[in-house]
């Protein structure tokens, strides 16, 4: 009997000796590919994707409304695209979509216990994490850029005159910035989903608390928000000369702060570093995670 420090030895008939030599893990690239393929299909079948799709139709509807009801208000396609990216995609749509697919990318599988099947395969945990993350980033980029593509279609249909080199350049630039934003935010939210058991609240606090607060503070403090760097990368709508009192006051304040513009390369670097760091932290967190069910 075993009161403490139980020692058990149980052996049946001697079977064939196990093969010698350590079996190799699955090559990481192949494993990432399989997991990403499986995960994209899984995420694409989630019900929440329908809600996200509907939310992403809002800018398309806005562009459609402008074309139908406000054709003569001077809102050119160029201006619409700048406004959409600066005021709709970057501050709202990118964080919402990235949050919806990011926080659940890893966390949901740990929570429901299905990760046990990938954890008991010869696949390294970084490959599991990166496969899931790539899938989530792919879905987020796909949703957002599809919305942007639909906006483009609405803008140019029956109005081919708007397709100028400048407009195409702006469109491609916006496309890239939105993709970069989706990749960065998704990496950050995926890491949150790995560390927190209930990651939605911290993710909301970050996206709509911290980001809005910091992005609204002038001078260099703004650079502590992803939103600022994304907005810095897209062209802003021309503001014109302020004629009203609040406009003039705002212009005076900006002049007084005399903020140097942040170069584009710095914004790209910051976003890329945040994405890579978040992925590395997520990988490290997953290494330490344990199955809960």
């Amino acid at each position: 009997m075993h009161e403490n420090g139980t020692t058990i030895t149980t052996s049946g008939p001697a079977g064939p000796a196990p093969a010698v030599g350590e079996p190799a893990p699955l090559p990481s690239l192949g494993a990432v590919g399989w997991i990403a393929w499986f995960s994209v299909r899984e995420m694409a079948r989630r019900r929440r994707l329908v809600s996200l799709g509907l939310i992403n139709l809002l800018p398309v509807l806005a562009v459609l409304a402008v074309r139908l009801w406000l054709p003569d208000r001077g809102l050119t396609a160029h201006l619409q695209l700048m406004t959409l990216s600066h005021d709709t995609f970057i501050p709202f749509l990118i964080p919402i979509v990235a949050m919806a697919v990011g926080v659940s990318a890893i966390g949901e599988q740990i929570e429901d216990g299905t990760i046990v099947y990938t954890w008991t395969r010869p696949v390294r945990r970084p490959a599991i994490y990166l496969g899931r993350l790539l899938a989530a980033q792919g879905v987020a980029v796909g949703l957002l850029t599809l919305s942007l593509a639909l906006c483009f279609v609405v803008m140019v249909t029956g109005n081919l005159g708007v397709i100028t080199w400048e407009f195409l350049k702006l469109y491609l630039q916006t496309f890239g910035v939105i993709a970069l934003g989706a990749v960065t935010y998704t990496a950050l939210f995926a890491a949150m989903g790995t560390v927190f058991r209930k990651p939605v609240l911290p993710a909301i606090l970050f996206a709509f608390g911290w980001e809005k607060l910091v992005a609204g503070i002038p001078a260099r403090v703004q650079e502590f928000s992803l939103q600022f760097h994304l907005q810095n990368l897209v062209s802003k709508a021309p503001e014109g000369t302020p004629e009203d009192l609040p406009g003039m006051l705002r212009a005076l304040v900006q002049q007084a702060l005399h903020r140097d513009p942040t170069p584009d390369w710095r914004s790209v670097l910051v976003l890329a570093v945040v994405a890579v760091l978040a992925a590395l932290i997520g990988v490290q967190l997953l290494r330490g995670r344990e199955i809960e069910k």
Partner: protein, 316 residues
């Protein structure tokens, strides 16, 4: 620890040394050391006894709070290549509901490193083996509990592992599937694989193996065959049937004797004795027979079952 078992110690494919796991103030597994070689070994314990936690530690899914776990000589958590030779069937019912049975099993095999042709061959073979071929194209969300259980077993076995962990594998299976799975587990053991199978249902374990590890409240209580365990409990109670040409005289003599707690004659004419101290009773019986001119032609232990052993050990 038995001598034979000790001799096989070096061949242990699963080993745990001083392993414990606690969650906050709750001790799930307490200072457990075990070595398991080839064959089928049952891990028996009530719900919440710590079986699944022990399984998860052995399979590298959770880190022990203390002690060390090795499977095929390696720490699975760090050396994931060894999972090619390990099969794990979890107790949890979680499966990716949106996938079909075929997709799921194929993916599991792909992640084991098989190429497309071999994956298809094994997927077909194991779906067939568990009578799931007809449902292979259906989504797992529509599978019954028994079908899900069979698919979980299939993913644990389809890559021909040497070491197999089966956590409550018969849950939810219909009687025919249950019988089939029990036969399969026995076959795996006879093939020389190491199968560690857990259950809280005693007849299930008894039907699969004679080798057991009893676990209760996070502590391993006993190991070995049912008979070996009984031998290790000197004062264990038991029920014995004595066959005699004169059962009435034998019964009358035994009433009130030391270590005898109850005597009756059953419908087969045997004298059924309940003793609170089996070893002492067996030691005294030959003397009584010799000194008092009694005749006993056969002695049968009636409750040498796992249930009796388990109840006794967990209630102590």
């Amino acid at each position: 620890m038995s001598a034979g078992a000790a001799a096989n110690r070096d061949q242990a494919r699963i080993s745990a040394t001083g392993v414990g796991k606690w969650f906050g103030e709750v001790i799930a597994v307490n200072n457990c050391t075990l070595r398991v070689g080839a064959g089928v070994v049952g891990l028996l314990g009530a719900n919440g006894a710590g079986k699944s936690t022990l399984f998860k530690m052995l399979a590298g899914l959770i880190e022990p709070s203390c002690g060390e776990v090795r499977v095929l000589g390696a720490r699975l958590r760090d050396r994931v290549g060894w999972y090619r030779r390990v099969g794990f069937c979890p107790e949890s019912d979680a499966l990716p509901e949106w996938m079909t049975g075929r997709e799921y099993l194929s993916l599991m095999l792909r992640l084991m490193g098989f190429d497309g042709a071999e994956t298809r061959r094994r997927t077909d073979r194991w779906l067939e083996r568990f009578d799931l071929a007809a449902a292979a194209g259906r989504r797992l969300g529509g599978y019954s509990k028994g079908m899900r259980q069979k698919l979980k077993l299939a993913q644990a076995l389809a890559h021909d592992p040497d070491v197999i962990f089966l956590d409550e594998p018969l849950n939810g299976m219909d009687p025919m599937s249950r019988k089939d799975a029990i036969t399969l587990v026995g076959d795996l053991g006879r093939q020389g694989r190491t199968v560690l199978v857990s259950s809280h249902i005693l007849p299930e374990i008894e039907s699969m193996t004679d080798q057991i590890i009893l676990i209760d409240r996070g502590r391993v209580l006993a190991e070995g065959s049912v008979a070996e365990i009984r031998d290790k409990i000197p004062e264990h109670p038991t029920t014995v049937a004595l066959v005699s040409p004169d059962p009435r005289a034998l019964a009358a003599f035994l009433i009130g004797r030391e270590h005898v707690e109850g005597v009756r004659i059953d419908d087969q004419g045997r004298v059924v004795v309940h003793t609170g101290h089996a070893v002492a009773f067996y030691r005294a019986l030959p003397g009584w027979v010799r000194d008092h001119g009694l005749v006993v032609t056969e002695i049968l232990t009636l409750d040498d079952s796992l249930e009796a052993v388990f109840q006794y050990l967990t209630e102590r």
